[in-house]
Symmetry: C2
Subunit: 374 residues, 2 copies
């Protein structure tokens, strides 16, 4: 089996339905991947991810490297054995987190020196080091170390940054090619394209990565503050460059609307903290738009959350869920998270079905209208 | 069917196996009842209570009266409809919580005036009012308003307090007899015995309650700071007074050892925040004793929590569970709560089985020895 197989392309846009094959199972694309930064998706159990149709979760190399640390992960035989999640795992390289440390990090051609946000201890991440660490983590899909160009950036900064990302990409790829998996299952490496909101830099960076022949391509440095239209424009540019038979991953995106629009532009994979983080803030995504459970209008509501999306949380009324939030019950976070994850997975699963049926754009427009009507 | 049926008494002690029959299902005694103060047991889903063998949960009249409030509960048709818990519910009267307010409450013969701990609003609880509120809540088993005598108390205070509890018991009983369930299912009322640690007061109070013929009898005002031996002594005294065919409920108890010893003295029902609260503090109850997951010795442990008690949490290693606590993941609270509730239910279920088999004392001694060996 090839790692990625494109099965169908929509008739009237670049949306695709495909399948990723890993040793921990297949992933039907387009897919949303819940974020499990520290080896757990916040406030939801593995079996609940399963029942909501989750096929792959994220882990974060920076966080896992610091805690529990490579020694623990290694002694357990990797993250799958450590956290007992049996399905595929994708790990971010941690570059994004390290670069966010601002005062605590220093970038050189070699890599990034940084101080742990936990205890101030000094570390260095290089392309070679993050590949080595992801071998220890044993993720199915690995990300390279790149520089997530901050937004806004000058053309000059973005160009320099993107060029370093290209040089690092080569080092990541070499380190990957010169090492082997530790636990007997296959691992894949993506390239991450940068270039800020500059079309020519985006083109140059992604073309250079495509020449290196990665297993898939991530679109990085977007959803960092730019206009949604800019994000779509950049996405459109690079999905024209990435070969058809390679998966495309738009990192850190996004709202349900963002996801549908990016699927239309040929993106296959998404991750975002939004469904889980918003759930913990009492915000639910529904087919009728976002709702805030703290709103007094739900006090007496005996309605379930959503008329279409069914999860375990559908057993409870909006009135009870609101009460749980007001009364600061942990169960509130659990049920809201189950619903939001269920909603995001319903969204991509339905998108896939509509792509296959040839009605994706029509459905996408109508559900987006429905979601914005409230 | 009678409300309570005693099926077996142990050969060499007062331990009993019985069954409580309510319109929301039967309860096999001895039973442990997880505490769901605000209409939810903290950090655990209803279906997880089910899978751990939970047969009845508690709610708290004081908390539910303040939030979501009688108006919401009434509009939903009671707590069962509000929180979607299908099995029996027992409600504490809230007397204990009101009396704990100290500076915010004033006791008179009529009842207790108090200020809400949430917003300072003024309220009064009388025996009549708590019965009325529990009719609105629709709990299967209701508790009367009593004064939980503080410990330590002088003989004089304890006597006055216990006598007021007896006068209030009569008013509770009258209010109960003169009202009817609102939602079509039967409700039962217990009497609560007080008397602090004074044998004659305990005897007088419980005898007076027995004369009023309640559906069951609670033993209140214990596990409030007195020596365990005193608690057992008082329990032993009153279980000799309560008729054999009535259920006995030792309120707010306790450790696994406390529960086993009280079962031996003829107690049928228990509730305590210990399994849920301790879980959230990383303390797990196991057949080999209590363990604190924050302990560094579990960092590399690939063992499950308990060799005997099996729950969903058994799918995870001590090392991973420790990581979840150190990393402050909500999943840590969820899995620890599942385990501790599973452990408490395993304890009473096994106790019941051993009572039936005629080996309760022997088993109780051996498991207590095992639990204290670590």
């Amino acid at each position: 089996m090839p790692f990625f197989e494109k099965l169908v392309t929509a008739k009237d846009c670049k949306a695709r339905a495909g399948v990723l094959t890993t040793d921990h199972g297949i992933i039907e694309t387009p897919i949303f991947m819940p974020v499990g930064t520290q080896g757990a998706v916040k406030a939801i159990e593995h079996r609940e991810l399963d029942e909501n149709g989750v096929q792959i979760i994220l882990g974060n190399t920076y966080h896992l490297y610091l805690r529990p640390g490579n020694e623990v992960l290694s002694s357990f035989g990797g993250l799958h054995n450590f956290n007992s999640w049996k399905k595929p795992i994708l790990t971010d390289s941690g570059g994004y987190q390290v670069f966010s440390l601002k005062d605590l990090r220093k970038i050189t051609e070699k890599g990034v020196e940084f101080r742990s946000h936990l205890d101030g201890s000094k570390h260095i991440f290089t392309p070679e080091k993050v590949i080595e660490t992801q071998r220890i983590i044993g993720s199915d899909i690995m990300m390279p170390l790149d520089e997530c160009t901050p937004y806004p950036a000058t053309y000059e900064y973005a160009k320099k940054s993107s060029e370093m990302t290209i040089r690092w990409a080569k080092r990541n790829k070499d380190a990957f090619d010169n090492s082997t998996p530790l636990y007997g299952h296959k691992q894949f490496l993506f390239g991450i394209g940068q270039g800020s909101t500059f079309p020519d830099l985006r083109r140059e960076c992604m073309s250079a990565l495509v020449d290196m022949d990665f297993d898939g391509y991530s679109i990085g440095g977007l959803a960092v503050g730019e206009e949604a239209e800019k994000m779509y424009e950049m996405t459109d540019i690079v999905t024209n460059i990435i070969p058809e038979h390679k998966p495309r991953y738009l990192m850190g995106v996004g709202t349900p609307e963002n996801i549908l629009n990016a699927i239309e532009l040929g993106v296959d994979m998404f991750d975002c903290v939004m469904p889980t983080r918003n759930a913990r803030n009492a915000t639910l995504f529904t087919t009728r738009g976002k709702i805030n459970l703290r709103n007094a209008k739900y006090k007496f509501s005996q309605e379930p959350i959503d008329p279409i999306v069914q999860t375990y949380a559908s057993n409870f009324s909006l009135g009870y869920l609101r009460h749980l939030f007001i009364a600061q019950e942990i169960l509130a976070l659990q049920l809201a998270t189950i619903h939001n994850i269920g909603f995001y997975l319903w969204l991509v699963k339905t998108a896939r079905q509509k792509i296959v049926e040839g009605t994706f754009r029509q459905w996408s427009n109508s559900i987006q209208k429905e979601m914005s009507s409230q």
